[in-house]
C-alpha cells in the first residue's frame, strides 16, 4: 500500500492544503461532464480524465467540475457543459480528450467559446 499508506496520505494532505490556502475565491466557472450510459459508452471517462489533468496543471480554485447524467442528446455524446458566471452555459458535443484540452485552455481559461465543437448555447 505504498501510495495509500497513512503517512503517504498525511504528506499528500499537508501538500494539498498548503496549495489550497494559496488559492482563494469561490467557483465562478462550472464544468459539467455528462456521464450517463450514453456518455460513458462514448468516452466520457477519457474526457473527465483529461479535464482532471488540466485542472491539476491550472491550479485554479474558481473552477468547479461535476458530473451529471444524460443531457438528452445521446447521439452527440460525450457532452460537456461550460458555464462561466454571468454568461449562458455552452454545451459541447462529440468531445474527446484533445477537444477537452482545447476547450479548457481556450474557453475555460481565456473565455473564447470554441464554437466548432459547440452543440448549443443554452
Amino acid at each position: 500500500m505504498a501510495k495509500l499508506s497513512v503517512s503517504d496520505l498525511k504528506n499528500l494532505k499537508e501538500k494539498v492544503s498548503k496549495d489550497m490556502s494559496l488559492r482563494e475565491g469561490k467557483a465562478k466557472i462550472l464544468v459539467t461532464v455528462h456521464m450517463g450510459t450514453c456518455g460513458i459508452a462514448s468516452g466520457a471517462r477519457e474526457v473527465m480524465d483529461a479535464l482532471m489533468k488540466e485542472m491539476e496543471e491550472a491550479d485554479r480554485q474558481d473552477i468547479r467540475v461535476m458530473a451529471a447524467g444524460c443531457l438528452g442528446m445521446c447521439s452527440s455524446e460525450p457532452n460537456v457543459t461550460v458555464e462561466i458566471e454571468g454568461q449562458g452555459p455552452i454545451a459541447y458535443q462529440y468531445m474527446d480528450a484533445n477537444k477537452m484540452r482545447q476547450v479548457f485552455k481556450r474557453h475555460i481559461l481565456k473565455g473564447e467559446v470554441q464554437s466548432d465543437f459547440a452543440l448549443a448555447k443554452m
Binding site: 500500500m1 505504498a2 501510495k3 495509500l4 497513512v6 496520505l9 498525511k10 499528500l12 494532505k13 501538500k15 494539498v16 492544503s17 496549495d19 489550497m20 461532464v33 456521464m35 450517463g36 450510459t37 450514453c38 460513458i40 459508452a41 466520457a44 471517462r45 477519457e46 473527465m48 480524465d49 479535464l51 482532471m52 489533468k53 485542472m55 491539476e56 491550479d59 467540475v65 461535476m66 458530473a67 451529471a68 447524467g69 444524460c70
Partner: protein, 188 residues
C-alpha cells in the same frame, strides 16, 4: 461498452441517481474457477416492485425510467453472452444490488479495463459519494474505501485535482501488484 470498468462506472452512477451515498463495488477474478464476478450495490431508494420485471428490458424504458434503462440491460447482455448470470435484487428504501458473472477466459468477455480511471472519474464528478471497492485476483485482495481516505485527508476534499491524480496512480499500482504476483508464481 469496451471495458467492464465502464459498466461498473455506469452502474455506480445508477446508485448515485437513486440517491445512494455509499457505493460498494466487488470485483472477483477467480482464476482457478475461471470465473469473474462483478457486484455493485448502493444504499439508494431501491426499485419499486412493479418495475423489477421490466427493468432490464431496454424497450420498456420510457423517459422517466431511463435512469435504469440501457445500463442494466447492457450489463446483463454482457454477462449472459460470456456464459454468466445476471442477478438483481432491490429493496425499496434499502438499496439495490446488481451482480454479473462471466467465464473469465470467455472470448467475448471485455477486459476489466482501467478501473483506476473509472473510480477517480466518479470521485471527480461526485465528490460527496463514498466508494467501497474491493478487487480480488486469485485470492489476493486490494481494498479501497473513500471513507478511510477521507479520515486521513482530514478535510482536504477528494476532488482536489492533486488528490485525484495521486489516488489514480495508487489504485493502478495496487491493482498491477495483485495481478503481477500471480504471474510470478513458479507453479503457474
Amino acid at each position: 461498452m469496451k471495458e467492464l470498468s465502464l459498466h461498473i462506472m455506469d452502474l455506480a452512477e445508477n446508485g448515485i441517481a437513486a440517491q445512494g451515498n455509499l457505493i460498494r463495488i466487488r470485483v472477483n477474478e477467480d482464476i482457478k474457477a475461471n470465473q469473474l464476478t462483478i457486484e455493485i450495490s448502493d444504499n439508494g431508494k431501491g426499485i419499486p416492485k412493479a418495475m423489477m420485471s421490466l427493468i432490464t428490458d431496454p424497450f420498456v424504458t420510457s423517459r422517466t425510467t431511463r435512469r435504469v434503462g440501457m445500463g442494466l440491460s447492457l450489463f446483463k447482455a454482457a454477462a449472459e453472452r460470456c456464459g454468466g448470470v445476471f442477478e438483481l435484487e432491490s429493496e425499496p428504501g434499502q438499496g439495490t444490488r446488481v451482480k454479473g458473472s462471466f467465464i473469465h477466459d470467455h472470448i467475448d468477455r471485455a477486459p476489466v479495463g482501467d478501473m483506476a480511471t473509472s473510480l477517480v472519474s466518479l470521485l471527480a464528478g461526485y465528490p460527496e459519494i463514498d466508494i467501497d471497492y474491493t478487487h480480488m485476483y486469485d485470492g489476493r485482495n486490494f481494498e479501497f474505501d473513500t471513507r478511510e481516505i477521507r479520515v486521513e485527508l482530514d478535510g482536504v476534499p477528494l476532488n482536489e485535482p492533486a488528490v485525484l491524480q495521486h489516488l489514480k496512480h495508487a489504485i493502478k499500482e495496487e491493482l498491477d501488484h495483485i495481478k503481477e504476483s500471480y504471474k510470478e508464481r513458479p507453479d503457474m
